[in-house]
Amino acid sequence: MNILQLFSIAWQGILSNRLRSGLTVLGIIIGIASVITLLGIGEGAKAEAEKQVTALGVNLIYIRPGSVGTGGISQGQGTAPTLTYEDAQAIKENCPAVQAVAAQYNSTYQVQFEENNTSTSVTATEPSYPGIRNFFPKRGRFFNDSEMNEAARVAVIGDAITENLFHGDNPIGRRILIRGELFEVIGEMEHKGVAQGNDMDDQVFIPITTGYTTLFGLNQVTGRSVRSILVQSHKDQDMQANFQITNLLRLRHNIQTEEDDFTLRTQADIMQTAQSITGVFSLLLGATAGISLLVGGIGIMNIMLVSVTERTREIGIRKAIGAKYGDILSQFVIEALLMALTGGVLGILLGVVGSHSISTFAKWTTVVTPISVILSFCVSLAIGLFFGIYPARKAAKLDPILALRSE
């Protein structure tokens, strides 16, 4: 008996009760479609998180000071003034794996232009910042080394500030007040959106030297303290850079056995955190979809069992005229497989369409990977096989005499 014949017999079996087969297939369609769609949402969230992490530049290492403890209560990371502008200079000079460094000090101030004012984050940094962050001015320019050295009162504003203070007019050359101090706007940053939970467009950038002289002054103990140092390592040298920076800072801060007063986080760490979060998200979505798939599979088994009972006499006739165990077994297994596969293929189509509609209408990023399509296809095959075998064995083992006698 050839395989084509088996398929044709199984197909006749499916067509013999179209409504019932259709409903059974529907169960698989819904299961597979939800697997595809929900995995698509999970993958989309992952891709979105990765995009957000890499949007702020690549090969980055974030250095932050340790936390201040007051009576055993930690004030949170970055509150201690232990990291200084000089540390940043030393890293730049002494660590060969480091490509660029930008020290940062940021604080929230009132920013004013004529009668408009807004409260925003003022980021005091170095001219290397745009290159590291992959974040450049779209109008005007970023401040340069000479402005940095002479602590010039220049500012580069984010495009949200342009909107808030200048209502979209060209801000270049205008003078704004930051906490009452006068600054000249020399550039406007490109639109970046939200990255790592910060609105990158609602910021004002000034030279860090200007920051110390006009806005936040010097720390009594450490002098020019910074909130963070942004380091870009040479490509694929983040481990070396990490090592070099750690040793350098321990040396400079005279740390031998006590705990470090700074922390390093590489982009890979941040990526990993983001991925572990979205991974859990994907897993939950996948599990939910998997349950509906399981229910679909049980549906197939249920219908196959009913079908075997209903067709007992047919099985008896087939056996009487020479059908072997394997003939009957494969007839019913193939029937279950065909239903599962039909459901699988239609479910994949529906799932792809569903993912696209979610992207289009709900503006969620969804990513349908070939893996999830292949996986779904294989799973539906496995479901057909798994839930089809028991009813098929039941059919194949029927005693032909009893089967012929049944009504």
């Binding site: 006749q12 008896g316 009487a320 005229i321 072997k324 005499i401």
Partner: protein, 234 residues
Amino acid sequence: MSLLEIKDIWRTYDLGAEPVHALQGLDLTIEQGEYLAIMGTSGSGKSTLMNIIGCLDKPTSGQYFLSGQNISTMTDDQLAEIRNRTIGFVFQQFNLLPRMTALENVMLPLVYAGVTGEQRRMRAEHALKEIGLAERMDHRPNQLSGGQQQRVAIARAIVNRPQIILADEPTGALDSQTAKDIMGVFNRLVEEGITVILVTHDQETANHARRIIRVRDGKIIGNQVREARTGGRP
């Protein structure tokens, strides 16, 4: 060598407390080309005997040789093959598959015999023509009369050129005129050299055969050889 040799066959069913002996040491020999009727009331064991002759069931003890092959020791799949190639069944209720056409029904044993394509169709059409149903090959069973359905069933039984036709009350569901036609078909098959075994409780039907076996309580109680009927064909 006889076509069929049954020696001291027992068939025992374990139904609860007491075992039921449906066949109790039965012996039977059938030669190639015989036209035989097995008669008995219900409960006599004739159905059990028919199931064993038809290789649908195996004896509890005793031996059964069909064309020299020992059936008693065969596996289920081997029995299926014997049923497919050596025996053709005709049932009281026709037992056609309702969703298939007459032709498809007749092709079914060939499907399981591994005959494919044009060969299968040709042999099935030939069998239907032989039985006088050439015009109704594409009809489904519910579009056919009882007599026509039984003819399709006979075509299905002979399509694989079996040595034995085993007919279980073949006219039980037919009116007397149609029954006569069907019995005529069996007569013709016998003339072609096929061994026909009728299983019936109806004397009228049994009278078509040339030898009548009577079964009671799982044993053969009568073996009557009759004169060959002449002019029995319609």
